[in-house]
């Protein structure tokens, strides 16, 4: 593992924190429901990227590999190399599930916001509160 890899990992983590901050600001401070929805998607994407990062690894004596067995037939050597260098597939699987459910929720919220706009002519929470 090189110093560049370590530096890159810290830059990615810092970027995710900044993303988290932007998303929280959008959710708490922006009055528009559309911008709140955009901020929620940024928040969920940040959480997903974090989950994938948690499952990443850079083995000491090899380069990291994706969780896909590269060749057939699968011999004991292939399997050993694979288990010792592939990244954790579980967070990736959970993130895929989270993306689908997040998308379903986002779509539903988007429909509700559109419906709100049709009924009340605004998506500003300060005005919506008074209705």
């Amino acid at each position: 593992m090189t110093n560049i890899a370590v530096l890159t990992a810290y830059v990615i983590v810092l970027s995710l924190y900044v993303n988290l901050g932007i998303a929280l600001y959008g959710i708490f401070a922006r009055p528009s429901l559309v911008k709140k929805l955009i901020a929620i998607t940024i928040l969920s994407d940040t959480a997903n990227a974090f989950a994938v990062l948690v499952g990443y690894r850079w083995p000491r004596n090899a380069l990291p590999k994706p969780p896909v067995i590269p060749e057939l037939p699968v011999t004991r050597r292939v399997l050993e190399e694979y288990t010792s260098s592939a990244v954790d597939p579980l967070p990736q699987a959970l993130v895929l599930t989270a993306i689908v459910i997040g998308l379903a929720i986002t779509l539903f919220i988007a429909f509700i916001i559109i419906q709100y706009y049709r009924l009340y002519g605004t998506v500003d929470v300060r005005k919506v509160r008074r209705i």
Binding site: R57, V74, V100, A104
Partner: protein, 267 residues
Amino acid sequence: MVTKIDVFVAISIAIFVLSLAYITSLGGLGPLPPVDVRDIAYQYLNLTYNPWRRFLTSFALESVTAIIWDFRGLDTLYETAVFYGAIIASIALYRGVKITHSRGGTGLSPIAKTVTRLSFVLIPTVAASVALHGHLTPGGGFQAGSIATVVIVLAIIVFSRYFLPGHGLSKERALLLRSIGLLGVGLTSIGLLLISFLLGVNAYIFQNQAKLDAPLSYPSLVDDYTLGGSLLFFNLSEFIAVAFGFMIVFLLLSVSEEDVREVVTRD
């Protein structure tokens, strides 16, 4: 206009982000990038395709798909159900909206339409390939469905919202096809269980390969082609379910505003 509350929220969040960064710099997340994975990851990686542990493996080359549709298949069934429910709820919001006639939209130029017609063949081919190889390479049913959705969005934008219903792909038919996809997922999950009733042997829900006390298996190898057992059927069913689920959503999103307002204001 920036209010005092905005400034307070911004400063609070800045302090929060800086605190997280400080904790990370002290080693709060452990070594970065991580040098090793957890024990459970070793188990999943080791059992993805392991001919020496036949009762525990899934015989797929791609660990993520093996986890999604085999090791944690029940989670994915519920996830698909959530997606299905969200689309049903979205349709419920649009109940009573009828698309009776075109309001004059004829789409973009003939050049754009010709190029898009080519993509009508190419993009679904790529999507089908991603679905069919989901157990061998990165991809799967959801990814393939998302790719196929590009065609639907292109058709709506380039040819107009009335193009797909005019060619027999109405919202109702898309809902039927989506239900068939979900039915495929359900049937694949209980496929071996149904056969086991006929044969009088033991089997489990979401069983892919034979277990110690359940001898039935989905085919894992056909003429040198690795099928991954039930994973291929799951991916194909999910592909159909997701593609037509998205189609319903985009058809609803592109409903003409006048059509909806007539219903909304009437209520």
